[in-house]
């Protein structure tokens, strides 16, 4: 089994390479190919961003649809690597697509700062190459994991969204561990109806117990939504 691709259903991992030096892009691509990794090179941050926008337009929120990581040169003409990183993290793309910075001699503090802000790592040029590839593979694994989690969550969310309002109310109360009778009282419906809703919720969310339901909701990071829905909370 390919260590870089723990979830074969996620597609082939890809390494995006943004560096304004042609020869560096070429060299790194050669290196990655020697380790059987796919790579795509971009000569500037702008070009890469354009590509991202393009693909997102095609694939919607689901892009990136495969494990990926971004090798980003910190210092470039035009938009700098750091600026691109900021924009990507604003779009919450850096979770599924970890960013490894390539830095020159004098940029280490900047790179450290970037790591603190969520970059995966930084590598000083001239880098130790197989170690770089090892870090890239690590990043790809993280990416695959993040992508997997994301998809799971998306699926659960979708199921959560399938619940009717009444089922939602019942689910919330169940998740809090209230007995059916109390739920029936508070919602002013019969116990029988509560039981019906409860079994439907368990069905739809594929859980077997109230504890499991609470755990799931906790995992989703959202408490059961209140009845009067506001704008959907940002994940």
């Amino acid at each position: 089994m390919d260590p870089t691709n723990p979830n074969p259903d996620l597609g082939l991992p890809i390494v995006y390479l943004v560096d304004d030096e042609d020869v560096v892009r070429d060299a790194v691509a050669w290196l990655l190919r020697s380790r059987r990794l796919l790579s795509e090179g971009y000569a500037s941050a702008e070009a890469f961003e354009a590509m991202v926008l393009d693909r997102q337009a095609d694939a919607g929120e689901r892009w990136p649809n495969g494990p990926s990581c971004l090798l980003l040169d910190l210092r470039m003409g035009g938009m700098s690597g750091l600026a691109l990183f900021k924009r990507l993290s604003e779009r919450r793309l850096t979770e599924a697509m970890p960013v490894i910075f390539l830095t020159g001699h004098g940029d280490v503090p900047t790179a450290v700062e970037a790591v603190k802000r969520g970059a995966f790592d930084f590598v000083e040029k001239p880098f130790s190459n197989n170690a770089l590839v090892d870090r890239i593979e690590e990043a790809l694994r993280v990416s695959a994991q993040a992508l997997h989690d994301q998809r799971l969550r998306t699926a659960r969310q979708r199921r959560l969204d399938e619940l009717t309002d009444r089922e939602h109310e019942v689910m919330r109360q169940v998740a809090r561990g209230l007995p059916n009778k109390l739920i029936a009282n508070s919602l002013d419906i019969s116990v029988r109806t509560v039981e019906l809703h409860r079994s439907r919720v368990f069905d739809k969310l594929a859980v077997k117990s109230a504890a499991e339901l609470a755990h799931l909701l906790h995992d989703m990071g959202t408490d059961p939504r209140p009845l009067a829905r506001e704008s959907p909370p940002v994940e």
């Binding site: 020869v23 050669w30 290196l31």
Partner: protein
């Protein structure tokens, strides 16, 4: 102590002479006037004194006159009366006449004026020998009748009696009633000679030394004393108290008008004494003044001497032939000769023999332009010490002018330039060191850029190498490598070589820049200059995406410069320009490097960026060393640039570029370098600016 120029002294001198003459004249006039007054006063005083004495004597004499008459009256009254015999009377009368020669005749008359007895004086012939008594007794009879009427002695008017031995006598008669008991029985008359009366007064010592005379009321003289002769100058008259005889007694002093001569002598003596006093006073004052002036002069001389001895500037005076007339100790010390070895020597011993001819010529030129104004600009020349050592000096000359205003020579201040030369040399070395430091600093400031520039090829090399190794590893060691991998491995290896080469070039360009080259001026084409520094410029420009535009005329103008230094200036200015545009979008980031010949002798370089311009605050300080707006800069760049350009004789300045609305859209730094003399005749004397034929654009 001010030194008074001779002309001014002369002016003061003539002025003092004139004022002194005036003083003397006034003194003399005053003296003469005073003396004349003195003489006049003395003269007048003496006259007044004499006159007063005459007056006093006249009064006394008039009294005496009256007294004499009174006494005689008493004598006559004492004569025996009618009751005595005629002989008795005659005897007594005779005695009286003998005792009083002024009485010429005594008569006794009856009441009817008939003469009873008459006695004449014996001292002279009888009075009435020439004329009859009867013819001359009208006045007598009148007097007697008055005496009879008055009952007192009465004098007659005087009358003239001709006389045989003399020219005649003026006679006055006294008539007294002769009483017998209480009855008037007759008269006694006495005839006085007026002249005799006056003589009598003189013999009695009245008014000694005066000529006495009796004058009638109308001024005609009646009688004159014979004892003295008056001078007719000091006279005084008194009316004589003789009843019925209106007469004045006049005194005429024998002393004549006082002589002026003794007064004059006195005056002259006094005057001379006074003059002498004045002269002595003036002399004393003069001596005092002179002493004072001499003291001041001595002080000024000492002052000048001290000044000459203390100055480190050599002082030298020469006459018009170039002979030295004066040197100060500093000059002697400078050239190492004693004053005695210098004074009057021609040519001066401190002229280096090899320069004699040239200095001689200079001397001639100086003499030819003789009425030259003193110039503040000295000239440099070379002198020789006694030991033969040559040294540079700066000479400042000004003409020496005597009291009459004619030039007599030259005064020169001579400055030893050795110390200055040493300082200049030291300063030059420091400048060089500073520039080397600045060059290193430039590289230091570029360090991160350079490391980046080196890291790129090194990173590529490492990646290619590792990749290749990975590829090789994947195949069995020693086993055959798949045919399709070979070309890739070859490409990768080729790239490794290329990148290693590239890294080497970067290092070389830095090395070329930093290397300490000979500081020498050489003629170099502007294009060569720009080309040599362009790699480093591009190095910087690439990262920020700045485009570099180079505009150089063809054929490229050539400059005389120190190449290494000018390269540094270009690098500094372009680097500043590129950094100024870091915030600009890459489309606007254009740096123009332009070099063109603006004037026959000057080539103008300009570096134009499109950044935000230079703020006023920055503009004020940016040429001072260690001023920088960047955190990683040393701040030596612009100050060193300016120093370098100025060392070449050029100038470095800048202007902010503004668009139509006055907004700052960039900055242009310009500097000039001297153009190399053209090899050929200057092409088309520049009526149209030469088109930039070479246009190199680097992205």
């Amino acid at each position: 102590m001010p030194v008074i120029p001779p002309v001014v002294t002369a002016g003061i001198l003539t002025r003092s002479l004139r004022s002194r003459a005036l003083l003397w004249g006034a003194l003399m006039i005053l003296l003469v006037a005073a003396l004349s007054l003195l003489v006049a006063l003395t003269f007048h005083y003496r006259s007044a004194r004499t006159q007063a004495a005459v007056e006093a004597s006249a009064a006394t004499a008039a009294d005496q006159f009256a007294q004499v008459l009174d006494r005689n009256l008493q004598m006559i009254l004492a004569l025996p009366g009618r009751d005595a015999s005629a002989e008795t009377w005659q005897r007594h009368a005779q005695e009286l006449l003998l005792a009083h020669p002024e009485v010429l005749r005594l008569e006794r008359r009856e009441l009817d004026n008939r003469i009873v007895d008459a006695v004449d004086t014996r001292s002279r012939p009888p009075l009435f020998s020439e004329m009859n008594r009867a013819d001359a007794q009208l006045d007598t009879e009148l007097a007697c009748s008055t005496a009879h009427r008055r009952h007192g002695p009465t004098y007659s008017r005087s009358y003239f009696v001709p006389h045989s031995d003399t020219l005649g006598l003026e006679v006055m008669d006294l008539c007294i009633e002769e009483l017998l008991g209480d009855r008037v029985v007759g008269f006694v008359t006495a005839s006085y000679s007026l002249a005799g009366l006056l003589d009598r007064l003189s013999t009695e010592g009245v008014a000694p030394g005066y000529e006495l005379s009796l004058v009638e009321g109308d001024g005609s003289r009646l009688a004159r004393g014979r004892m003295h002769v008056g001078a007719g100058v000091y006279r005084a008259g008194r009316i004589v108290d003789v009843p019925d005889a209106a007469m004045q007694l006049w005194l005429d002093s024998a002393s004549t008008r006082p002589s002026l001569v003794p007064d004059l002598v006195t005056a002259v003596v006094v005057g001379l004494s006074l003059t002498l006093l004045a002269v002595v006073a003036l002399l004393a004052r003069d001596v005092r003044k002179r002493t004072h002036v001499e003291g001041a002069l001595a002080e000024a001389l000492a002052f000048r001497k001290a000044m000459e001895d203390s100055v480190v500037t050599g002082l030298r005076a020469r006459d018009l032939q170039g002979r030295i007339t004066y040197v100060n100790p500093a000059f002697c010390e400078m050239v190492g000769f004693d004053p005695a070895e210098l004074i009057d020597q021609l040519p001066p011993p401190y002229w280096p023999p090899e320069h004699h001819a040239e200095y001689e010529r200079r001397q001639q030129i100086r003499l030819a332009s003789m009425p030259a104004p003193p110039s503040r600009e000295g000239f440099e020349t070379v002198f020789m010490r006694k030991n033969g050592e040559r040294f540079p000096v700066m000479i400042l000359e000004s003409p020496l002018v005597d009291g009459a205003g004619t030039q007599t020579g030259w005064m020169s201040a001579v400055l030893d330039l050795r110390a200055q030369r040493r300082a200049e040399e030291l300063s030059r070395q420091q400048q060089e060191r500073m520039q080397a430091t600045a060059r290193l600093a430039t590289v230091g400031e570029m360090a991160s850029l350079l490391s980046h520039e080196l890291n790129q090829p090194l990173a590529a090399i490492a990646a290619y190498a590792t990749g290749s190794l990975n590829m090789m590893d994947r195949h069995a060691p020693g086993g055959p490598i798949e045919a399709d991998v070979w070309p890739e491995l070859q490409t990768a290896t080729q790239r490794i070589a290329d990148q290693a080469d590239r890294a080497g070039r970067v290092i070389k360009s830095v090395h070329d820049f930093v290397r300490r080259r000979e500081h020498s001026r050489e003629v170099v084409g502007v294009d060569v200059l720009v080309e040599s520094v362009l790699p480093l410029i591009r190095l910087q420009a690439r990262k920020s995406g700045t485009r570099i535009e180079v505009v150089v005329e063809t054929p490229a103008p050539r400059v005389v410069c120190d190449r290494a230094m000018v390269e540094q200036v270009l690098l500094n200015l372009t680097r500043n320009g590129i950094q100024a545009m870091q915030l600009q979008p890459p489309a606007d980031a254009l740096l123009t490097l332009c070099a063109r010949q603006t004037q026959p002798q000057w080539i103008c370089f300009s570096v134009t960026d499109h950044g935000s311009g230079i703020a006023d605050e920055t503009a004020r300080q940016m040429f001072t060393p260690f001023f920088t707006t960047r955190s990683d800069g040393m701040g030596l760049g612009l100050s060193v640039c300016r120093t370098i350009v100025e060392q070449h004789g050029g100038a470095l300045d800048f202007t902010n570029l503004r668009d139509g609305s006055g907004k700052v859209v960039g900055a242009e730094f310009r500097f000039t370098l001297p153009a190399a003399p053209s090899r050929t005749a200057p092409a088309n004397s520049g009526d149209a600016p030469a088109e930039p034929a070479a246009r190199l654009v680097s992205a």
